[in-house]
Symmetry: C2
Amino acid sequence: MKGSSITIVDIAKKLNISKSTVSRALTNNPNVNPETRQKVLALADQLAYQPNMLSIGLRTNKTKTIGIVVPELISSFYPTVMAGAQEAAAQRGFSVLTASCNENYATEVANSKVMLANCVDGVLVSITKETINYDHWMTFYRRGIPIVFFDRVCGEMMVPKVVVSDYESSFNAVAHLVASGRKRIAHLTGPAQMLIMQKRLNGYRAALNKHGLTYDESLVIDTDLNVTNVKMQVKYLLEQKQPVDAIFAVNDAIAMEAVQVLKKMNKRVPEDIAVVGFGDHYGSGFADPALTTIAVPNREMGKTAMSLLLSLMDKEPASWKPITRILDGELVVRQSTIKPEPMVSYVSSYPGVFQMNSLHNREFSDDKKLKAI
Amino acid sequence: MKGSSITIVDIAKKLNISKSTVSRALTNNPNVNPETRQKVLALADQLAYQPNMLSIGLRTNKTKTIGIVVPELISSFYPTVMAGAQEAAAQRGFSVLTASCNENYATEVANSKVMLANCVDGVLVSITKETINYDHWMTFYRRGIPIVFFDRVCGEMMVPKVVVSDYESSFNAVAHLVASGRKRIAHLTGPAQMLIMQKRLNGYRAALNKHGLTYDESLVIDTDLNVTNVKMQVKYLLEQKQPVDAIFAVNDAIAMEAVQVLKKMNKRVPEDIAVVGFGDHYGSGFADPALTTIAVPNREMGKTAMSLLLSLMDKEPASWKPITRILDGELVVRQSTIKPEPMVSYVSSYPGVFQMNSLHNREFSDDKKLKAI
DNA sequence: CTGTTAGCGCCTTCAT
DNA sequence: ATGAAGGCGCTAACAG
């Protein structure tokens, strides 16, 4: 005895008018008598009429839903981006269909098909660490379904993207280590095919270069973004004939793990070895020692990406420009690189309260400048 | 020139057979010639046919999507639950439509309508801190759309729920504080109308009672789940004629904030004041001091809730039983309550690696036992 | 085993 | 300003 939902026909019958008029009244069509509209609206409200998005989607080819595909849901990064994106979508009446890939390429492909099958009006995508083929996303492009990559973007596709200033941020992080007197700076990186890793690695290299330190290949180690590898890798770094005095990790999870390992090995952080992360994940701020890292405006990233995506939908696919929006990361210096000062002012480390200052975006009209990095 | 997608009609035309046969072949209908099926499947594959979920949904009244409505996306808790739920859904071919409410009742109501409009086959819900009216969720119940609450459940509705052992876990947390010699134990709680807060408060009271400590109303303070209130509230607690020597916070975010405030006020944790949280959020493990807390199997909770929900859909609404699944929380003793021991074994504090042991579920056939608590 | 038909709920010409 | 009719892509009777 499931109380089925109210339809336009129901309203039409009760009011003894045609369903097309009801439809018009409900869709702000100007060609309808104000009185009629009032009656329809009143009844619709009273009956708690909910338009059936399925049939609307089927009819209009617009579902008012946006797909969001993320590589994982373990770190706080993607959920926060999603929250920002969702908020921006809701403001314009869009719903959000989400899917996580568990860093698995096959799952990503499957998820892309789900998005297609559900006729999303657009997709926000951040790829898995395994992804090197983009055919499944090209399909969207070909069909005129707008797609915006964020954070872990795809280098090959000329579509809009939202990223953090990976290169500059890395550069700043490493420059900070150099400024604090470090000479042997290791880099725990991720899969080499990922653009994001390349940019961060390049930033690392450039900073070393700029400050007269030689780039040593043996100090750059691929963690495959897997924390379980870190223990062994940190040990390896310490066993070098010229042991490292600093570690720049490609994200906070890796950095935190490195700190744990170092502490376990009775190394002092930052006195013996400084550690810098990337991302300012939840928890990094009140770790022991608090982690120096790059704060990324993740919620902002979600909003920006969604706004960009929604703005595309108003225009012709032909006019879509592969804009890359770059959000500035900000170096947050904490105790994992600098010994605590005597006086530290009180700052809430809870993300809901944390204030990010001076986050301005820049914009490039195409990918070339980015690739030049 | 958007390359529109392939439909059943397209396949039927190319194969010169009827669309119903194509449909049958695609839906594993037994009444179809194996050869025909092969041809259809082959062509569908070649053409990268994607069934249109909108029309299927419209026709069958089943969309294969589950709505998940969460109160917030700031802490790591809900994203992790969602990840678990999504995984369980994907295994059975279900997609997930998500919506966050930013702890706002009106948004929750709006989100419930979105779910209705999108014809989800069921919903997983955790309510906001403001929610005291459940009419919008009753609608689902009335329409025969299965609904399962998790974590922040609704006491009034007789529907399936998945929760942690709030009462017992609180009891254990407070008992642990007592065992470590604390006499004046404060409780930072949340909005009193929330069932989850009531249960945790009851657990706190019971533990005090059991160990001969008197319940002092002035030591129970409502934070409204807002970390910005904590500073003032902790100060208040310290200014009591008989100052507190321990704080049991209703979640980790509040607890972490309390620790920060205490440190700022030059109180030693745990020597002067012990702090216990609830939830074992990401980051609590490597905080300074590492936070003693209740580890909740959040990913497991998502999986359990989704499995429960999907299992309902196979049965008649009339036979749905308001089962409440209780997942055990586990007290994780860390440095915020006990001074660090000389030897600490190495444990990865990264959630992807963290091993949760002995998490067994219990099950009640109705809500009464729970309410009795 | 296959084809025909009808219709899910809605929007959108085309009439009036 | 309103009504009638057609169809989005698909499935589920009903015939054969």
